[in-house]
Symmetry: D2
Subunit: 353 residues, 4 copies
């Protein structure tokens, strides 16, 4: 698929850590062109380079440096078709519906609307078909635009892996423990005095999300809602001294017993649903399984497939359930900005814009 | 209890990271006096301060600085009664029986003999009574001395917590995921290039130990062996960028359902068995339960009770089993050198020297 | 010297990182008893344990836990004689004179009044005599109390070292580059995303302080002011991923050439001025010189002498000036809270309360 | 310039940290094709992917994975024209002359021959002309090949900066203090227990190199040797918890006083000598000067210009000499493997192969 001319898009909350990832990933995107960057009142009117404390290793794209920060209102960016939202939940709650009502497609990384019955919670390589829930959403809410969400960064790699196993063997239960990167907390986020020579064994509200969001994504699309999967998940979430890349240790119970080699074969063969298979951001492959005894590791593996591939390792029998393994996913690429962009591509390719 | 004059003791493998902890913890011990430090051939004959790259924040005790390193042989230290072994497993395998045969009480931190049916695997606050297995050990092996072991550092805090819960409610199954400190790998141990901005999702041979050792310690002492507990454990072990203090995330299934408050009450009320309750190293309290949402944390909590107390936090319901919680234990104090010293104190107080 | 009953003292700004150090160091102080803790409006009225996010490894003293936080006003704590100020500079500027006017001795860690000609800038082991400037301060300002300050944490160890060398050989010039700990920036301070796998080659306003403050402390006390020393200093300051302990690399030019051994002898022999030699916080020794090629190191050496001793190492010839060396000092103990307490002890012992 | 077909090259010491950088940087090099990888006896005969513990974030190039490791001998790789040496100094001492004698051009990162009067010590953007010393080297030693070296990684960015200033104003003296990355110590290199929450204020033999190597590179080429520059340098070297990127704080005395703006203009305008200006690895620009108060920072700036550009910041007046500034350079790219490759390109373009 190729578009005649690039679609004009905007980033809301462009100065934060996820906002910066949007700006970085949208640089040279084949379909989208950033024409507006918006941020909080405090930064409005300033050039992006001045208002934003850039924290990525990749340099800020040149086109972004002089772009003037706009207010987060539909009126400020009439030419835009898609807005990528890196807003804090509070603001997203109020602002995203305003944009959707005004005809914008909102691809949101915020958690505010993930649980709404008519809002798709999407990982295109898992549940691309759920995108069509936006038809019902528009009817029900009278919006010409829409809101499409991506899950919490810790749910991301886990759900991709569970999906592959669920399709082949059925997944009944999962115990998961995360070791999450600092960038997941935004900027300034975690004070260095709290994490150097330390871990923090809790992340507010995260365990509830990890126990619930995969059930929606692995669920069944009805005409106007999703029937949740009855997979049961128990989650512990931890913050560790890693810059990017969330690691999850998982033990799962399968409905049909599977040998390690069978599971590895299934994971490696996993493909995105047909409609999500050839988009610019489709991870290729969707899942990589490492053989080494000590992989995946965040620093070495987080950029696999440009940060969009889910990396699995240490697949082995579990003495209580069926299998144990380790999943790694880049939290601000696949788990945040990259995921929203992938969702936007799906909206476009499914003619839902 | 008070001894007339201090018992002469030695440290084998005194220059390594656990060896250094022995030297540090035995400084000013009320019952024991270090009269010999032994190390590998390479260091033999050198003053301790010269051969040892001291890595603890506490300064090296003055009496140790000029002590000449001896070879690791019984002949080199005839006056010694107890040897504390911080030897690598390979060397421990060969050398510890030589010392035991020669009449020494070997309090070992090595894994070599933990699984032997006639060797006590001890956490005195959990299974002090198992110490009497040494009577059978002496008969069976014809030793005038003995070998007594302490468990792997990750099993330590976990087993203390499971014991308290097991006594009150019965524990059937446990999922545990560790976030382990660097000092657990010894010195030089983990290269900095491997762990900065990273985690390593595997520790060689550790998961097997964590899945088995608690079963022996929670087991029943027969005349000449231990019947293993039938608790089932599934373990994932990880290395993180923390200097000291192993954190374990655990989900457990109890035989008798228990509310969070009941479990907390039981953990707080837990006491060591009578014979292990008033020794110099008895942790006081055995277990502390923190109320904060983000504790225990290794840097803030590892020195609780001088590093001998097990710190538990985040006790909450588990959606699949019964309860979830986090356990922290100092890996080179409670989980290594301090544990061996506690074992030695029990040997003395039980008249088994 | 012994006091009949302990002097009642207070800590202003008690919940911050330096405030916490005050609380911790004043626990069991032989002369002082904390009777009041004060903090910003937001925390006022709450128990200390609730308002304060405690970040030290040592547990919060039990007596402090339930103490109700007072407002930072003289009226709130009439019984107090000495207030230790860990206030931010802005607040210190306004509040410290109010306390001094109301008769309190203010021992301040803030920078607001360090440069005033009638305010002593004190390291008692360097310039204890300067304390008598408070007599002039009281006359000039009509205060019954007083303000006494301690220097910036980076100047501390450097000035102690320069003083010893200056007395013996004369110091003309010094190049100094600091590698400063995170706790020097307070809490929350430096975001972890800024410092993991990184250094920050600047600390706002710090270089000016390090280039000027030593000149005042090494200066000459006149009746009503200090004549600055004409030592010239060039400073670069850096933030590194260390929790506590500031390291300074220094190259100095001496007026009288000195061999390395002579300089080491002088540093080791250095003693505090007579009047500051037997106070509870007097570092003993004032300076330690390490012989190892790779010391001092912050993690291993910062607690030398309870964190009050200045640790010097790598004394060697400088190819351009006279000598090069490395200085380490604990920034929140000797360089902040411990320094203010030492100053207060000197006030008491000199009868200036 | 374009070559008909790629030149066959080899990497000696290919499994270490610098060896890995060679493999990574030579992937897709326009002129060179790696046809041989060699390593120590222990690894010989194994596939590269199996023998090498890959520690870079970029994945190992596919062509390297199955390449069989050869012994480090000229006989093992007859078709090779250039060998890149990442050998330890000891081995380099013996092996590099064997290769040079056998007709290979040895582009070495080792320190063994840097100080030899007939061996060029090269940063092409500084002293490209020195390459012609190899003509004399061949005559003097009777070699058909040659040895060309690049400096120590800490000297690299410093020398580039000094060269630019020296050309415009003359540099008389420099005080420099380094904060060096862990990768500079190779793998396994620095133990994590030594550097977490710590710095190490010494790097063996490094200060001597930093005080001498710039003098050779800034020196004058005679027919058969280099007259050293009479710039005087005093260096302190430190190891910090940074993965890649050496930072240097420098204070310099200029012969002609210069304002900050003049110096910045000169640094920005600096270009490599004509013959080194259009090679594949020529940094573009050679030097970047940042305006921000807190840059350069290793994590954010080390990959500027693909890791080949020298990044300078905080140019400001020095109270004792003329100017102060901070220099950052990627130690394993510009300061090691990338530098050797740049040297090889110069050899080729000057027709010296």
């Amino acid at each position: 698929m190729s578009l005649g001319s690039p679609l004009p898009v905007a980033v809301l909350g462009a100065t934060g850590s996820v906002g910066q990832r949007f700006v970085s990933l949208l640089d040279k995107h084949p379909w989208f062109k950033v024409v507006a960057l918006a941020a909080s009142d405090r930064s409005e009117g300033k050039p992006y380079a001045q208002a934003c404390r850039w924290i990525l290793s990749e340099p800020m794209p040149v086109w972004a440096r002089e772009m003037t920060l706009l207010p987060c209102t539909p009126q400020a960016m009439p030419e835009v078709r898609i807005v990528f939202s890196a807003l804090p939940s509070e603001q997203a709650k109020t602002l995203e519906p305003e944009f959707a009502a005004a005809g914008f497609a909102v691809c949101s990384n915020a958690s505010s609307y993930r649980a709404e019955s008519d809002v798709p919670l999407l990982l295109p390589e898992v549940n691309a078909g759920h995108i069509h829930l936006v038809r019902h959403q528009r009817l029900a809410r009278g919006w010409s635009g829409c809101i499409v969400t991506n899950p919490n960064c810790t749910s991301t790699g886990l759900t991709v892996t569970l999906k592959a196993l669920d399709g082949a063997f059925g997944v009944r239960r999962a115990f998961v423990v995360s070791l999450q990167a600092l960038s997941g907390a935004g900027y300034p986020g975690v004070p260095s005095l709290d994490i150097l020579d330390n871990i923090i064994p809790n992340i507010n509200g995260e365990e509830e999300k990890v126990e619930w969001e995969p059930r929606k994504m692995l669920g069944h699309l009805n005409e106007d809602s999703i029937t949740l999967s009855d997979i049961q998940i128990s989650a512990h979430t931890n913050r560790v001294a890693v810059l990017d890349g969330h690691t999850v240790c998982a033990s799962v119970e399968l409905a049909t017993p599977a040998l390690v080699e069978e599971a590895v074969r299934v994971l490696r063969a996993y493909q995105a649903p047909e409609i999500a298979r050839a988009l610019p951001s489709t991870p290729n492959p969707v899942i990589i399984v490492r053989e080494e005894a000590d992989r995946p590791q965040p620093r070495l593996d987080r950029l696999t497939g440009g940060g969009m591939t889910t990396v699995v390792g240490r697949v082995r029998p579990d003495p209580l359930l069926t299998l144990k393994f380790v999943v790694l996913s880049h939290n601000t690429i696949r788990g945040a900005a990259g995921g929203s962009i992938y969702n936007a591509e799906l909206l476009v390719s499914e003619g839902l814009l």
